[in-house]
């Protein structure tokens, strides 16, 4: 284990990381965010998802440094009386769960499809890629919106609310797997012709083993770059869906829904309902994007154009 | 009498992050009207960079550090880019190595030919077209009118290279610099292209600088030869004399390594080791680690190019 740590420390990866201040700063910030999200239930002043904690009389209180603010609501309250800070922490948590979950799902489907298509080639490849192309030709956000809308209409708001988090994860996961599939496939097709694959074949290893144990690890760099971008996308998608009212329900608000509810109040002066979650979300996504950019440059500046 | 093209003590460096690297270290040669010079050497010896320096097209971060290049009496190495543009493609044309990569895939042949003419003279599209057809015929391309409307990928490699030669002839240049013109082509086509170049130079009295690593081609086409090693010219003289009686040990090794130059049954000459990279050039004569005639002075003092026997100049302490 120690040897691996030392190897990592000596690697080019770590070296260029240390040299790039932006990457380091972003990573640092990201870690903080993740920590906050993880510990949200313990460190936030209250649980905003529990209806018992909310008193509508507390609604629209400004942050504590302003006139009518109160210290138990450091960043003010939203239009329903929920503490902003708690809701932001919980919202961040929700976003991360959905974001990571969705990307996992996307990645899983995408890798399976891409590996198969790339390695087996021929007809399988043609069919799978046609499918991917077709889904790719529809903007993934649109697909997510439609799926969510149809689900809501078909099964009613009640069950939608209950199943919100897993449902959103699945929806966002299903809407964007072609990106992964394409990237993996391209990478696999490149690796397929290399000697080590032929050697494995000559030894007589079954196809699946070759795919999983030999080809896949070498294609992982492209996966990593795409994954960071996709996490950012997934989080933004969830925010967008929640903003439209097709995402997290009003009782369990995420950052997107907060921004939505804040919109009306921004004109009447309660700007914090929109601005704080907004800044929070932007910084979070920005950090992920910056890290993604850096990863892309480290691995190969030419490969990941879009 | 001044030469048509004269390169004097040319030094080209590349400005890298950790310092400057010398790619061309004091190269001098001359070309007269209608003369054909071969610039020979291994990959990395500096031949292409020399070719590019003549028309000041060295890729960044390269730059001309010292020396001068004069053409038709003018010191073109000091020209601004605007003045240099009047010479490029006009008085001195260049042919690159891979015809597929050289022609822009999204424009027709005609487009790329006409624009070259219109860049250098005031001429109508129709007039330019006529000249283009003329040149296409000159390089023996069948159905030239059809070619003008075609795209590069619709033609074969040999055809594309002929078209590139045709483009280089458009303004009736004084010199053509051909950088490995046949390396990317099939062997059968190579001979055709070289014959074509030779024929054109002879009929129009055009100067040719042929940059290549292919000694067989050079011995066939050129009158003068300059052999480069690690950024310097180490042998310079009439082609047939250098090829049949090389002076410098490196040239000797090069010639001897060609199958066919040694009687059958005898071993081919092999030069041990490899040419050093630009950042690793040994002190004294750059060739000394690989030279069997090496003496102490070879490791201390860099030899200069001077007259040896037979009208050949070489840079060697021993020979």
């Amino acid at each position: 284990m120690n040897k691996k740590i030392r190897q990592f420390k000596d690697s080019y990866f770590f070296y260029s990381f240390k040299r790039d201040k932006v990457a380091m700063a972003s990573f640092f910030v990201l870690v903080i965010f993740l920590f906050l999200a993880l510990t949200a239930p313990w460190i936030s002043p209250m649980n905003p998802y529990d209806a018992d904690n909310i008193d509508i009389m507390n609604s629209e209180l400004p942050p504590m440094w302003m006139e009518e603010g109160a210290p138990e609501f450091p960043l003010g309250t939203d239009n329903q009386g929920r503490d902003m800070l708690s809701t932001m922490l919980y919202g961040l948590r929700t976003s991360i769960i959905i974001g990571l979950g969705a990307v996992f799902l996307q990645g899983f489907i995408g890798i399976v499809v891409g590996l198969t298509a790339g390695y087996i080639g021929g007809k399988t490849d043609a069919i799978l890629m046609r499918l991917a192309d077709i889904q790719f030709s529809f903007p993934y956000l649109m697909v997510a919106i439609l799926m969510s809308a149809i689900f809501q209409v078909v099964f009613g708001l009640g069950s939608f609310e209950r199943l919100a988090i897993p449902l959103l994860t699945i929806i966002i996961g299903l809407s964007n797997w072609p990106m992964f599939a394409r990237t993996i496939r391209a990478s696999v097709m490149g690796e397929k012709n290399k000697e080590y694959v032929e050697a494995a074949r000559v030894i007589g290893l079954p196809r699946v083993t070759i795919m999983l144990r030999h080809v896949l690890p070498n294609s992982l760099t492209s996966v990593m770059v795409i994954a960071t971008i996709q996490v950012a996308n997934a989080i933004m998608s969830e925010a967008a869906l929640s903003f439209l009212g097709l995402g997290m329900p009003v009782t369990m608000p995420s950052l997107g829904s907060l921004i939505r509810s804040g919109q009306e109040y921004i004109f009447s002066g309660s700007w914090w309902i929109t601005v704080f979650p907004g800044i929070w979300l932007v910084i979070f996504v920005l950090v992920i994007n910056l890290l993604g950019d850096w990863l892309r440059d480290v691995f190969n500046p030419k490969l990941y154009k879009g | 009498m001044p030469h048509l093209l004269e390169v004097r003590d040319l030094e080209v460096k590349f400005a890298l992050r950790f310092g400057d690297i010398t790619a061309i270290d004091g190269v001098s040669f001359a070309l007269d009207k209608g003369e054909r010079l071969g610039l020979v050497g291994e990959s990395g010896a500096g031949k292409s960079v020399t070719g590019f320096s003549i028309i000041n097209l060295i890729s960044k971060p390269g730059f001309i550090a010292k020396g001068s290049i004069s053409f038709e009496g003018n010191t073109i190495s000091e020209y601004s880019d605007a003045r240099m543009r009047k010479i490029r493609g006009n008085r001195i044309s260049m042919i690159f190595q891979d015809p597929m990569m050289t022609l822009n895939p999204v424009f027709t042949i005609g487009f790329q030919m006409i624009e070259t003419l219109q860049a250098h003279q005031r001429i109508s599209k129709g007039g330019a077209r006529k000249i283009a057809l003329q040149k296409l015929k000159k390089v023996h391309i069948p159905s030239p009118e059809k070619r003008l409307e075609q795209y590069p990928h619709e033609l074969s490699g040999g055809m594309r290279q002929r078209i590139i030669i045709a483009i280089s002839l458009l303004s009736n240049p004084a010199i053509i610099i051909a950088d490995e013109p046949t390396t990317a082509l099939d062997v059968t086509i190579q001979a055709e292209i070289m014959d074509l170049l030779q024929e054109l130079c002879e009929t129009d009295k055009m100067g040719l600088i042929l940059i290549t690593h292919d000694l067989a081609v050079v011995s066939q086409v050129t009158e003068k030869i300059a052999v480069m090693y690690a950024g310097k010219i180490i042998e310079y003289g009439p082609t047939d004399r250098v090829v049949h009686a090389p002076v410098h040990p490196y040239t000797h090794g090069l010639i001897g390594s060609i199958p066919g130059s040694i009687p059958p049954g005898e071993d081919l000459v092999q030069i041990p080791g490899m040419m050093p990279t630009l950042s690793d050039i040994p002190p004294g004569c750059a060739f000394n680690p690989r030279c069997e005639l090496r003496r102490d002075i070879c490791m201390q003092k860099t030899p200069i190019l001077e007259q040896k026997q037979n009208g050949i100049m070489a840079a060697c302490h021993v020979k």
Partner: protein, 327 residues
């Protein structure tokens, strides 16, 4: 070339059929065509009768075929919410969205091309660095947030631009069909903020794309050759490099129009813009299945059309694609 077009069109048709099948199945299972026709105040007996009349008890395939036939004739069902044919409702709302897209596209083209090209030609200049930094920020900001902040700044604070709606519109064809906001100053003023918000999402993408494509092109052999021919910098950059850069960018643009479409939903919500997205959200809220499915079909149709057209267009301008079409 012809075979290429035929292939693309065939693919488009297959996709449309697949989507229509999905849409129809949903509608069949969930939708209530009887309610759409006659409202809610009908007795069960009457419902059963009407259901039979309009063929709701026929086998699935028969109903599907009927659906497709009707769709091709322009009948996509009836909107319960608006009490009009679904297609009519959609088409009525379409111009608003289309104008939004046109305005955004214009902004994107006008801004991204010069900035992208400039940052490729002079990557180390202040302007380039500034542009690139802003682009990462732009991608990280959700469209709706940008929209809200812009409204706050320009409409509430500075009060120089309107905060919602389309403003004064002009009847372009004289039949009440296309209400355009492009022909009045007020209409244009109303277009500025929404189009601008929408463009902030795409601008960073395009600037970066143009920049990286162009930088790659500038390193190619044929550009070097163009210099060797003695062509002027303007010609090398603006003719040779530019055309080669534009090719991949154009395809991306086609795809991105689709993505912009998705984001118009968000923008329309923020600005109370009465376009298709706004209509869609209302349909969701009121569970108007027919309208939703009709929307799905229309949107799918548009995307497939746009993608096919872009592919064919790309085939025209990039000669190498036509020959090597062996995917």
């Amino acid at each position: 070339m012809f075979a290429f077009i035929v292939r693309r069109v065939l693919q488009a048709v297959i996709v449309m059929l697949a989507i229509s099948l999905v849409g129809f199945s949903i509608k069949n299972q969930i939708g209530d065509p009887v309610r759409d026709l006659v409202g809610e105040r009908v007795t069960p007996a009457e419902r059963a009768q009407i259901a039979d009349e309009i063929g709701l008890n026929d086998p699935f395939l028969v109903q599907y075929v009927r659906f497709v036939k009707q769709a091709l004739k322009g009948d996509l069902g009836r909107s319960f919410l608006y009490n009009k044919p679904a297609l009519e409702v959609i088409l009525k709302h379409a111009p608003a969205t289309i104008e939004l897209l046109i305005g955004t596209a214009l902004i994107i083209i006008v801004v991204s091309l010069p900035l992208g090209v400039q940052s490729a030609l002079q990557p180390r200049s202040m302007l380039s660095r500034f542009t690139m930094s802003f682009s990462t920020l732009g991608v990280s900001m959700p469209v709706f947030l940008t929209a809200i902040l812009l409204i706050y700044l320009f409409a509430v604070h500075l009060q120089i631009l309107p905060s919602y709606g389309r403003g004064e519109t002009v009847d372009v064809f004289g039949n009440g069909y296309w209400m355009s906001g492009f022909f009045t100053v007020d209409g244009l003023k109303h277009l500025i903020l929404p189009c601008f918000s929408l463009s902030t999402l795409m601008l960073p993408l395009f600037i970066r794309l143009i920049r990286s494509e162009m930088m790659e092109v500038l390193e190619t052999e044929y550009i070097k050759y163009a210099w060797a021919k003695g062509l002027s910098p303007t010609r090398v950059w603006m003719v040779h490099a530019f055309k080669n850069t534009l090719l991949p960018v154009v395809t991306v643009f086609g795809v991105q129009i689709g993505i912009m479409f998705a984001y118009t939903l968000l923008t329309e919500l923020v600005f109370q813009w009465q376009g298709m997205g706004f209509m869609f959200l209302e349909a969701v809220q009121r569970a108007d299945i027919s309208l939703l499915i009709a929307y799905l079909v229309v949107v799918a149709c548009v995307f497939v059309l746009v993608n096919t057209v872009v592919d064919i267009f790309y085939g025209f301008i990039n000669p190498t694609v036509r020959v090597t079409e062996t995917k």
